[in-house]
């Protein structure tokens, strides 16, 4: 039920993000979702891609430090209160969110929320019990 996310360490210098996208483009890898967290001197790029094994390999060969993390993709109706419902469920069950980002599916009906939890398995259980659909990795990679 988990989704593989790759994360890349970036210095805050011109052209570093462009270098990542160039390597992925040349390898024919499509980016499904991304988020960039930054501080004054470095950033962490988090990506969900069509082929994470290959993405990790080309980025490593390109000299980047790459990490892999399990995240959870939850589906929510694309309407007011959708995200709030999920966060409410998590909060009542005392599940802590490390970070999250979201994207809207092409069909336009549903949004996908990507969550990084400390206790991933417990989080999945809580979400499923409360009727939230968890999107399997395979489905995300091939959207």
């Amino acid at each position: 039920m988990k989704v593989e996310q790759i994360s890349v360490f970036l210095e805050n210098r011109a052209g570093r993000l462009g270098e990542v996208t160039r390597l992925l483009a040349e390898a024919g890898i499509n980016i499904r979702a991304l988020s960039l967290a930054d501080t004054s001197d470095f950033g962490i790029l988090r990506l969900i891609v069509t082929d994470h094994e290959k993405a990790k390999k080309v980025l490593k060969e390109g000299g980047f430090t790459v990490g892999r993390t399990n995240v959870v993709a939850a589906e929510v109706e694309d309407k007011p209160g959708g995200l709030h419902h999920i966060l409410d469920v998590l909060s009542k069950n005392e599940v802590n969110v490390e970070y999250m980002y979201a994207f809207v599916q092409q069909s336009g009906k549903n949004a996908v929320l990507i969550f990084r939890f400390d206790r991933t398995d417990q989080a999945i259980e809580v979400l499923q019990k409360n009727g939230v659909r968890i999107i399997p990795g395979k489905e995300i990679y091939s959207i």
């Binding site: 570093r16 980047f64 990490g67 490390e98």
Partner: protein, 431 residues
């Protein structure tokens, strides 16, 4: 003016006779009291009685900083612990500091030599000595302190930090002699201006600067900015602390080494051969009157040359040139000694990091800054920002704790640190 005219102007022949007598006594004492030296002598088949002239010094073994570390903390002390009245230590990671001990006589000698230094620079009992050298295990603060008291001047133990307050009190208290690192002197000048004052509002007339390398150009700059005469002072904790050598007011050209207490030699740092008089090489010092931790042929790693030309001030003690550099990789940053290996050991021992790192030293305005760049490898990396920020903060805290210096820690991408022949360049000194 001289604090000890007879000693400071002792005819060379008499001075050398005194040196030999003291050296022979020292060798005898170390051979019987310090196992480290006895072993070194035995390895070479040397006996104390083999030292028959000052020339025989070149056959004696060297002492290195590592020898002090290997015998940490008190292994090289030559006096019983109950006779030691003071301990000083240089920066170092846990268990690796170099520790020195002083008997009451050592502390008194140090004060007298510092008093000589103050007077050689033109100081007297009338002076108000503003001491901005750090107080603590570092020898700078207390070394200057007792010398000024011995001279009978008024010492004001400011230590480092609180620059605006120092400037205010410098005016109110009427400081006439400033003792600090040369870079701090420039910082004080900038703070004087920023406080709406000018150096004319102050009574400063003499500056005694040391604990970090500085150039003739920097001397001219400090002299014209602060309106005082600036003198270079030299010392190191292993030998005594500040006050081993100083420039005199009359010549302001080369530092007189107090030869009735120290024998200087210049060696080739590679071959360890003694170089002819006047040649540039590594300064080696033998302490001939110390009791706590006397050292034979201590390798200072400082590069200089000796000048035997008699000085117009009348002192017969030899002069050394201003320090030109180091024969090892030690960095002096804001008066603090930093070895790249110490940073490495913080990364490795404290954080388990085998990452590449690089130290960048810059001069920003008047102050030197240290940046430690650490490459982020997979072991260190995390997808969480707070995790990486925690690592940065922890490394910075450890550097501050172990080395006493604030460094900016930056995480950088792998391979951003330049490597030559597979080996990373550890230090970039942009000063």
């Amino acid at each position: 003016m001289m604090y000890e005219v007879e000693n400071e102007t002792m005819p060379r022949e008499e001075l050398e006779t005194l040196q030999l007598k003291r050296l022979q006594y020292l060798v005898e004492k170390l051979y019987h009291n310090v196992p480290f030296y006895r072993e070194k002598f035995n390895e070479r088949g040397l006996k104390p009685e083999h030292v028959k002239s000052l020339k025989d010094l070149q056959y004696l073994p060297f002492t290195a900083k590592q020898d002090l570390r290997n015998n940490y903390p008190y292994g090289l002390f030559a006096s019983p612990k109950e006779n030691i009245v003071r301990i000083h230590a240089s920066s170092g990671t846990t268990g690796k500091a170099t520790v020195v001990g002083y008997t009451q006589r050592d502390v008194d000698t140090w004060a007298r030599l510092m008093a000589r230094c103050l007077m050689a620079a033109g100081g007297s009992r009338q002076d108000m000595v503003h001491n901005a050298y750090g107080y603590g295990l570092f020898t700078g603060g207390l070394g200057m302190h007792y010398g000024a008291e011995k001279l009978g001047a008024t010492i004001m133990p400011f230590s480092g930090g609180g620059t605006r307050r120092q400037v205010m009190l410098m005016k109110d208290f009427g400081s006439t002699i400033l003792c600090s690192t040369p870079s701090y002197a420039i910082k004080l000048y900038e703070t004087i201006l920023a406080s709406g004052m000018t150096p004319e509002d102050l009574k400063l007339r003499i500056g005694i600067f040391g604990a970090e390398p500085w150039s003739e150009g920097m001397r001219q700059e400090i002299q014209s900015k602060l309106g005082l005469k600036a003198y270079d002072i030299y010392g190191l904790s292993e030998i005594m602390g500040p006050g081993v050598a100083i420039e005199c007011k009359e010549a302001q050209n080369g530092l007189h080494i107090w030869e009735d207490h120290f024998i200087p030699e210049i060696i080739d740092p590679e071959t360890c051969e003694v170089l002819p008089m006047g040649a540039t090489g590594e300064l080696v010092i033998t302490t001939i009157t110390k009791e706590g931790i006397p050292l034979i042929r201590y390798r200072t790693r400082d590069i200089t040359a000796l000048n035997p030309v008699p000085c117009k001030c009348g002192r017969t003690h030899i002069r050394m040139e201003r320090i030109k550099g180091r024969s090892d990789d030690m960095l002096i940053i804001r008066g603090v000694n930093v070895f790249p290996s110490q940073i490495e050991s913080i990364l490795l021992d404290t954080h388990g990091l085998t990452s590449h790192y690089q130290l960048i030293i810059r001069r920003q305005g008047s102050m030197d800054t240290l940046e430690a760049q650490v490459e982020v490898d997979e072991k260190l990396f995390s997808d969480k920002i707070k995790h990486l920020q925690k690592i940065e903060a922890k490394i910075q805290k450890d550097i501050k704790e172990f080395l006493g210096i604030t460094a900016k820690v930056s995480l950088v991408e792998p391979q951003s640190i330049e490597r030559s022949q597979g080996k990373a360049k550890r230090v970039i000194d942009l000063r």
